[in-house]
Amino acid sequence: MAEALTKRFGDVVALDSLDLTIESGEVFGYLGPNGAGKTTTIRLLLDFLRPTSGSVRVLGRPPTDVSVRHKIGYLPAEVRLDPSYTGEDVFRFFAALRGVVDRTRQTSLCDRFGLDPTRRIGELSTGNRRKVAIVQAFLHGPDLLVLDEPTSGLDPLLQEEFHRLVREESARGATVFLSSHMLPEVEQLAQRVGVLRAGCLATVTDLDELRSRARQRIDLHIDGPADAAVFEGVTGVVEARADQRVVHLVVEGSVDGVVKAASRVRVHRWVTHDVDLEEMFLELYR
């Protein structure tokens, strides 16, 4: 898909000789912290940007070939649409441009996400605007879905619905390119994951491999004085620190060892933290 793909903006190297191939029909997670070059990659795929050097092919064709976009559904990270359009206006306009009008699918997608397509974009909340963007991306049953931070701004129930939709499309044979800075999102959908950092691909692995290397932060609130010694030497624990009544742990891979060790103390609260990717993949990045 991408070969030695490089994009510079002035002196800033946004993407540095990226080599990446996505298999047809897979769900590929494209993971990296904000500013790593994920959106730049996507904008190159859609021909909004032109490579400084190297090349990209999308569904076997260069992105400059307009007809490729018949088969692409794009969900941008930040939804920006003319505020005077209604959802209906957007769907009609895009359907006409694509030459595919499927009212039944439009209605069923709107119903699934509880979207009223007669309201103007300008009157909609961020979450509802995102729904408009989701419906337009899936409307024409594309072969390739390019999803940039797809569930940011969606409430958990709708995130679930969205994940179901992606799984259905994947089962139908669509290829999914899922970009995110959140491991949990990618984890639920992707089979294979590429980790991007500062414009370079740090690794491409399958999800199990990634899970075994990902770190998480756990705080255990103990009844009584906390003692970190209980967790020292337990499988997976890379850091154990006690602070009055709380034990702070950093665990790599499975937390099974920690769960078993915790049975020896009285835990009354178990708090896990979303760790950002930088921290999560210390190993990979080193």
Binding site: R43, L46, D47, F48, L49, R50, V66, S67, V68, R69, H70, I72, Y74, P76, E78, R80, L81, D82, S84, Y85, V90, F93, F94, A96, L97, R98, G99, A133, Q136
Partner: protein, 266 residues
């Protein structure tokens, strides 16, 4: 065609508002004509004005202010109508691509199977159609209100049509400059500045050139000079005023399209 249709639908409300404004402006100007018609004292007053000032008002000794052609030229065709249409054209041109890209609305459109060239062409034709429609509204208002008050007496019919087309041409040329600047920069601000800057600069050049015969050649660079060199209402169509804006606009759009197709979107 889809892009064009969508663009017109998006802008129709604005066009209706502007049309009403133009009709009111034209009608109220013409309503005053009977108070001026044939009043020779006005002519004496105007004859005493400095030549540069007189010419900047679109008046010449041969066509008195108190005649239909003189009144229409000085009150409508020399500044008022061109400026109204020009402001409309610059705003529409700047918004069509530069503004749309800056607001981010363009990106999702271009994620569809439609080329940048196609979107540019559709939206440019949209701007042309909007400005032409507003010009037509002004002309119709002028004829409908002007005939009963006698403002069309002595007006060359072909010249009137040509003058209206030439005003649209002037407005469109500046709308094109704004459109192309927007296509190149991807922003609204530079687009407006380019369109308005050329309009003001061109107007000053035309006024200066009219004030001194030695500067006449410089004046030929100004689109205003193309429009105002002759009173078409009295003397019939002037081809420079009709052809030059179209030629320059076409060259600009082709050049702008090439840049727009090759650059990165913002």
């Amino acid at each position: 065609m889809i892009v064009f249709g969508r663009f017109i639908r998006d802008r129709r409300r604005g066009l209706v508002g502007w049309s009403l404004g133009v009709v009111v402006a034209v009608a109220s100007t013409l309503a005053l004509f009977p108070t001026v018609k044939g009043q020779t004292s006005y002519n004496d007053l105007i004859d005493n004005l400095p030549r540069a000032l007189r010419e900047s008002m679109g008046l010449s000794a041969a066509v008195p202010f108190t005649s239909g052609p003189g009144y229409l030229q000085s009150r409508l065709f020399s500044t008022f109508l061109p400026i109204l249409l020009l402001v409309f054209a610059i705003a529409a041109g700047a918004r069509a691509l530069g503004g749309a890209e800056e607001d981010g609305g363009l990106e999702l459109v271009l994620a569809n199977p439609v080329s940048r060239r196609h979107v540019l062409a559709g939206r440019y034709l949209g701007v042309v159609a909007l400005v032409a429609t507003l010009g037509a509204v002004a002309l119709v208002a002028l004829v409908v209100v002007g005939a009963p008050v006698g403002a069309l007496d002595g007006v060359d019919r072909a010249g009137l049509l040509a003058a209206a087309v030439a005003v649209v041409g002037l407005a469109l040329l500046h709308g094109t400059i704004a459109f192309v600047a927007g296509a190149v920069s991807g922003r609204r601000g530079p687009a407006v500045v380019a369109g308005a800057g050329v309009a003001v600069g061109g107007y000053l050049v035309q006024v200066l050139a009219a004030s001194s015969p030695s500067l006449h050649a410089v004046g030929l660079l100004s689109p205003w000079q193309w429009l105002l060199a002759r009173n078409m209402l009295a003397t019939g169509p002037a081809w420079t005023a009709l052809v030059l804006p179209v030629v320059v606009s076409a060259v600009l759009v082709v050049a702008g399209s090439t840049v727009f197709e090759q650059r990165d979107l913002r």
